[in-house]
Each structure stands twice: as structure tokens, then as C-alpha cells.
Symmetry: C2
Subunit: 446 residues, 2 copies
């Protein structure tokens, strides 16, 4: 058993009565996901994806990854939100957050087109100088501003570098039929993959969206799918003794008891981007209708020396969900003859052993500080574990969202800033909005 | 004027009556900082640091930086919390978050000893293979677990590599007289610098703690100090028309109106670590006695596609402070004959122009979504600007903390996890705590 969830620290905060009181609504929420008859159920393609993946495309992704590994030093992945977070999370989870810096047989991977920064773009272009480059542009519509601008710039860079041969270095992940990238893929002969219609961005890491970059980083897709399949088997069948159900219930109970922030904590820096992926999954799924826990994250012990004070003694509005990375290692701390640093009490112990005592000590300290602690543990950072953990959180998020009484699969609020931005930029079709927003700005400046 | 603060979006949330009502307590808070007679005032060394820096040491730091630049490819900075966040924030602020990846004349810089991860340590060691390495170990006591373990491991690596010559590659920043590192520096002849007694970790970036790594990255310390000096002149003199005072008042008023999360947002990925520095500054200063805003951060537009939904429509518990990075550039988006992506309405515009419309559109959208927006702007990412901005937030934090009614300069809660960890690890002197914690664990497992 590589993953576990425990309520061992929750006794002070959640009672068996609390749990019993929400059982019926939890069951309803679980059934809505399982039977695919809740709001937004046309976006439940991820539920059976581990078993139902298009195998023709899956094999083609593996071949494309091999081709990319063989033909470039730098792989640029253009995408924003769900089109980059999952793959980046997977790569750092398995290969560590220093993947690009390490000696390896696979290309460096940069995630671009997820901001609007000219200096960041310039730095990426300079990094590509004198090195072979491939691009994967990931966008369902092909017209999203950030990846769209990045693709314009970087395709032009590639065409200057390789002429007509640039087309062989461009890989497109987009809508099966519609959108701006599909016809371009056909016209220029870019190899292409499909962003499924029934899977939203934040649930798409196990689709082609995530698979190509993950495979390029040398991660075993079969292992990852094995983990996801085992999770599908484990979590979708029975409501009873189901860790997804338990996690959904704990977090909703803590929300109802007045907590408004869920801190996802982990004790290894390789989990940083996994936490970012989780923040989108839960924040975008649940943050609507004035509801939802604010998803924040910390890495221990790093952030115990920055946010630790707040967590221990600040406003009591938060609880934490800890993913304890507990991997046996043989990195033993050596004895120092002088013991000048006073750390000889650690000599002969492994670094992971020390890390485990820090995790345990922190859980007890935070419990004392009235921070409820949902304790999870993983015993490896393999591709299998990643696939399993991703599926666990996706399924738990769907249950949790229905329990919260929202549609966990839409994101209506994301359009608000875009609409204003397009009005300000004078996008065709936004003429009325443009007029209105400039009138508003005039009033604001008075 | 390179930095500005505006209340242009706050009219809906904070009235002139609100401001008038808190003027007296704000004035009291300001005076406590200015006259250094509030709680914790023996930790106010940072207030006059821009003008009062020890110039002998300042010049020695510059020389050491030059020596490090000339003698290594990889510079390892060992420190946790305030002993790494400020320097890392400065380097990414000025040089971008791809500093290590870019071609440059200065060493790659890795911040280590801020976690307890064996895989991260292994990766760093592998990155050092075949390359010249220098170390800066930063720790006031010299006995903090994370940097202590890292220094044991990495010093041993250096001694294997360079023998006796390793000592010339080790630079120590520690207490002037006490602690475990000071006698080692003297015994082995490490060049050393001082962690001042009257400056806490989170306020220490402009002391030797931050200066050496920042200088090694090729950042102009004189420019940075000029910015800090101008800020000291600007913010410490008069209570009236003082942006530090305004910022402290806005955030405390929003807290009193029920907000519990302050989101520091910026629109450039180079600000990511600046936000982390800010989170420690405010979280550790204010998160005590059950009080304080939870400090979170986002990078736009990246996170508008992950947390944007929550910010727009989730639980109304947050406000945002936006540092708009508005730097003119000549990176023009080109016209595309086919306009396949529909983005020709951006042709001829600069990337920064688009970024600015995104910032403006977001501020209006979030205002409509009842997220108060404190608007800041910087027009460069120079060393000057960094020095200025750091001082601005430090001084504002001190005022804000006194207004909140806490001591902004201690961090009693950080000890809680450490005490448990030491008990679990059987550290000498913790025998009674060890006994108690194992009894507690036994009960917990029943």
C-alpha cells in the first residue's frame, strides 16, 4: 500500500457524530459522481480515463516523445492553467524540482505561454540559442491569449532556425475538430493529439494534455496508468471505507466548523508543483457562489521557517492536509569528531529519518495549536504513485464539490478578467464592452 | 518615481470615515517604530541599516563576491527562512527566475539547507560534479538542523574535492561572537560576515545575510542601497502622506472588515520569490496571539487560470495587494498573415502593453467580485527598485504589526515543531520532552 490517509490527529476536531450527520449527503455526492448524473456530468471523461484511454493515441504519444528526446535539447511546452500544471507537477514529482539542472538523457523542459512577461520570453529565447528545440503547444481553442502569443513568437523562432523543417518539431495538443490549431496542424503537418471534450483542463493531466511532456521527461506512462487504474478500482466502486469519501467529508466538515483555508503541506521540495496543480483542482472546482476553502500550500520544513509562526499561532482559520513523503533512503548523516555544530545526536541516522521526526513533531505541534491535520502518506515518488495520487484527488474533489452544493466542473468566473482585457485591447466583437470600460475608467480617474 | 501606491480601487470598500477613525492608532504605531520604543524594539536595527551599514564589511563582501565569481561555477547558499528568502527574492527580481539557466558571467546559485530532503541533496551534489564550487553558510546559531546537516554534507564534499584548499571556498555569515560557526570560521580561516544582533531573519536581506549571494549574482549593491536609502528618507520622517502608513491602514481596515487572507499578486514570474519573502515578513511578524492576515501569493496571468475562479467567485474572505510590474519594452507582437489564432488585434502592440491591460482588466473584474484591490506599481526591476521595495514593506510591516497589537519582531511559535522534533530525535537536553512525547504517541496509537 503506497498511499494512506489517516484521521489520527482529527479526534479533537471532528467527532463520530459529525461524520454520521453528513453520511447521507456524502453518499448522495458519491453517487452523483459514480452514476454521472450530477451537474456538469458531461465533464466526467476523466473518471474512466485510466481504462478508456485511446490506445492508438497513447502509443503515438510514446513514439512522439521518443522522437522529441532524440531530436532536441530544449523542449518548450506552451500552455496555461490545466494545460501545464499537471505535466509540470508530474515531472517534478518523479524527477525532482531540479530536473532541468541535472545531468540526464532527456531534454530540458520549459513551460511557457503561461504569463505575459516579455523578459521571461526573452530569457527562454536566449536559453534556446545554439540548441535544438521542439515545441508542444497545448490549447483547446488555440486562441487563448497567453499561449497564442507565445506560439506566434516561438514558432517564428523555430522557422528562422529550421525553415520548412520546423514543422517536424511542432507538436499540437488541441480540440479533435474545432478551434484554431486543428486546421494549422493539418495545413503544416504538425503531429497532433486531442484535448478531450469531456475533460476540463484541471482534470486533464492523464489525457494527451499531460502525457506528451511527461513522457518526454522519461517518465513511464504505463506505470503512471497502472497507478491511476488501481485508484479507479479502489475509489469508484464502494462508498464505504473509501479514502476519497473520507477526505471529502473531513474538509467539508472543517469548512462548516469555520475554517476557510486548506493548506496542502508536503515535506519535500519535489512536491511544490504538485501543490500548485492541487490548488487549481480544488480552487477552480469549488471557488464559486461565494463558497469554498481557499487552497494554499507550503513545503516543510522550508516554510516552517517562514509561515510556521502563522500556522502555529495566527488567526485560527486554517487546517492542513499533509502529504508526508516517506521514502526510505540510505543517506546517512555522518559523525563529526568535533561536534562543533552540536548535531552528532543525528549521526548514523538517515536524512529521511530526521525528516519523518520533523513531520511528526509538526503534526503534534499544529494539533496543539488547534490546526486540524489530515494526514496522508506516500512511500515512493514513482510514476505509479503520481497516477494514483492524481486520481485520488480528482475523485475526492468531485465528491467534495457536490457535497458543497456547487458544480465542480465549470469555471464561469475565469471569463471576467478576460472580458475586460479583450475590451481594453479592442478585440473584434468587443466594441460595446470597449466603449463601456473606457467610460468606467474615465469615471474612476476623476 | 519608480514606485507608487494607489487607493483608486478601494472606494467601494474603505471610506474616508474608516481612515479617519484609525488615524490616532496609526500615528501611535508609526511613532513606536520611528522612536523605537515599542515592544521588540531591540530588533529595529534594519530601520537605519541603509545608512548605517558597516562599510568595512560592505567592501569586504564585494571583494568576496568577486573572488567567488572568479573561482566557481556553482555557488551553494546554505540557509533557511530569512537566511535565504531575501537573497533569492533579490536575484529573481533583478535577474529573472531563469537566472541559473541563462548564459551569464556569474555562477549558478543554489539555495540549500532549507529542507530535509535526501533526494534534493543528492541532486545538488550531482549538479556539482565536475564543476568548481563555493559555499556560503548562513546561520546565526550555527546549530539549526537543516542548514547544519547541509553544511556537514557539503563541507565534506568540498574537502574531498579540494583538500585543505576547501577552506578558501567556504564563506560564513554568522553571529559576531557567539554560536557554533564563529569558532569554526576562526579555526579553519573561513572568511566570515556578521548576522547582526538587532535584526531578525526576515528583516535581514540588506545585511550581510543577503548581500553576499546578491552580489555574487552580479547585482549592484550600491544601487540597491541607494533605493533603500531613498526609502528610509521617504518613509521614516513624516507620518502624513506616507505610503507605508497607508498600506498598513488599508490592510488592517480590511482585516477588521472580515477579510482573513491577503493575496500578494504580481504580473511577472520574476516576482515569485519576492512574494515568498513577503509571506515570511508579514506571516511571521503578525501571525500570533490568534491574529493576523494569512499571507498568500499569486502570479498573474498564470494563476488567473488556476486560482482566478476562486478569487473572482469563491468565499469572500480575501483582498489583494497587486504589485504591477510595468516596464516599457520593445517586444512587439507581429502580425500573422493568416490570423489563424485570431490574435492580430494584438499585432503592433508590445507584450507589456497586453500585460498592462490584463492587470487593469483583472483589477476591475476583482473589484466587481468584491475583492478589494490595493494597487502598487513599479516601473523597473533594478537593484534600486528592489532595495526600495524591501524597505517599504519592512517599514509598513512594523507599523501594521503595532496597529494589530502584537510584537512584530518575535516568532515564539516557530519553536513548537522544533521542540517536538528534538524530543523525537533524542537531542541531548530534551530527555524529559522525549519521554513525554513517546507517551503521547503511545496514547495516540491506541
Amino acid at each position: 500500500m503506497a498511499f494512506s490517509l489517516s484521521d489520527k490527529y482529527l479526534g479533537k476536531f471532528i467527532s463520530t457524530f459529525d461524520m454520521a450527520a453528513v453520511e447521507n449527503e456524502l453518499k448522495t455526492a458519491f453517487d452523483l459522481v459514480k452514476h454521472k448524473n450530477g451537474e456538469g456530468s458531461d465533464f466526467l471523461g476523466w473518471v474512466n480515463l485510466p481504462y478508456d484511454h485511446n490506445m492508438e493515441e497513447y502509443e503515438r504519444i510514446k513514439k512522439a516523445a521518443k522522437k522529441i528526446q532524440d531530436s532536441c535539447d530544449v523542449f518548450l511546452v506552451i500552455g496555461i492553467g490545466g494545460s501545464y500544471l499537471g505535466a509540470r507537477a508530474a515531472i517534478e514529482f518523479v524527477q525532482g524540482n531540479l530536473y532541468n539542472d541535472k545531468k540526464k538523457n532527456t531534454p530540458d523542459i520549459y513551460f511557457v505561454g503561461n504569463d505575459i512577461s516579455s523578459s521571461h520570453m526573452r530569457d527562454v529565447i536566449s536559453i534556446c540559442e545554439g540548441r535544438d528545440v521542439c515545441i508542444n503547444v497545448i490549447s483547446k481553442s488555440g486562441t487563448t491569449t497567453e499561449p497564442g502569443v507565445a506560439f506566434r513568437v516561438l514558432r517564428s523562432m523555430l522557422e528562422k532556425k529550421y525553415g520548412n523543417k520546423a514543422n517536424e518539431r511542432i507538436f499540437v495538443t488541441t480540440d479533435a475538430k474545432k478551434g484554431a490549431l486543428r486546421p494549422q496542424a493539418e495545413e503544416y503537418g504538425y503531429e497532433s493529439f486531442v484535448v478531450p471534450d469531456d475533460i476540463g483542463g484541471r482534470y486533464s493531466v492523464l489525457s494527451a494534455v499531460g502525457l506528451l511532456p511527461i513522457a518526454v521527461a522519461g517518465i513511464d506512462l504505463d506505470e503512471m496508468f497502472k497507478g491511476a487504474k488501481d485508484a479507479e478500482d479502489e475509489y469508484t466502486q464502494s462508498f464505504y471505507n473509501n479514502d476519497c469519501v473520507k477526505y471529502a467529508s473531513y474538509r467539508n466538515l472543517l469548512l462548516r466548523k469555520g475554517k476557510c483555508i486548506e493548506l496542502l503541506a508536503s515535506n519535500d521540495p519535489s512536491m511544490t508543483m504538485f501543490c500548485e496543480w492541487w490548488k487549481q483542482l480544488f480552487g477552480e472546482s469549488e471557488g464559486k457562489d461565494g463558497k469554498g476553502l481557499y487552497p494554499a500550500s507550503v513545503i516543510y520544513s522550508t516554510d516552517l521557517h517562514s509561515l510556521g509562526q502563522y500556522i502555529q499561532e495566527g488567526q485560527r482559520t486554517l487546517f492542513e492536509t499533509v502529504i508526508n513523503v516517506n521514502i526510505e533512503d540510505n543517506f546517512v548523516i555522518e559523525e563529526d569528531k568535533t561536534n562543533a555544530d552540536g548535531l552528532n545526536f543525528l549521526a548514523g541516522k538517515t536524512i529521511n529519518y530526521v525528516n519523518q521526526q520533523a513531520v511528526l513533531g509538526t503534526a503534534l505541534a499544529h494539533t496543539d495549536g488547534n490546526v486540524p491535520n489530515i494526514a496522508m502518506e506516500i512511500t515512493s515518488r514513482s510514476a505509479y504513485e503520481f497516477g494514483h495520487l492524481v486520481y485520488f484527488f480528482e475523485f475526492a474533489c468531485a465528491i467534495s464539490g457536490y457535497m458543497l452544493g456547487i458544480n465542480p466542473f465549470n469555471q464561469p468566473g475565469v471569463e471576467a478578467y478576460k472580458k475586460n482585457m479583450f475590451a481594453l485591447l479592442g478585440k473584434p466583437g468587443y466594441e460595446q464592452a470597449t466603449k463601456e470600460i473606457y467610460e468606467r475608467l474615465e469615471k474612476l480617474s476623476k
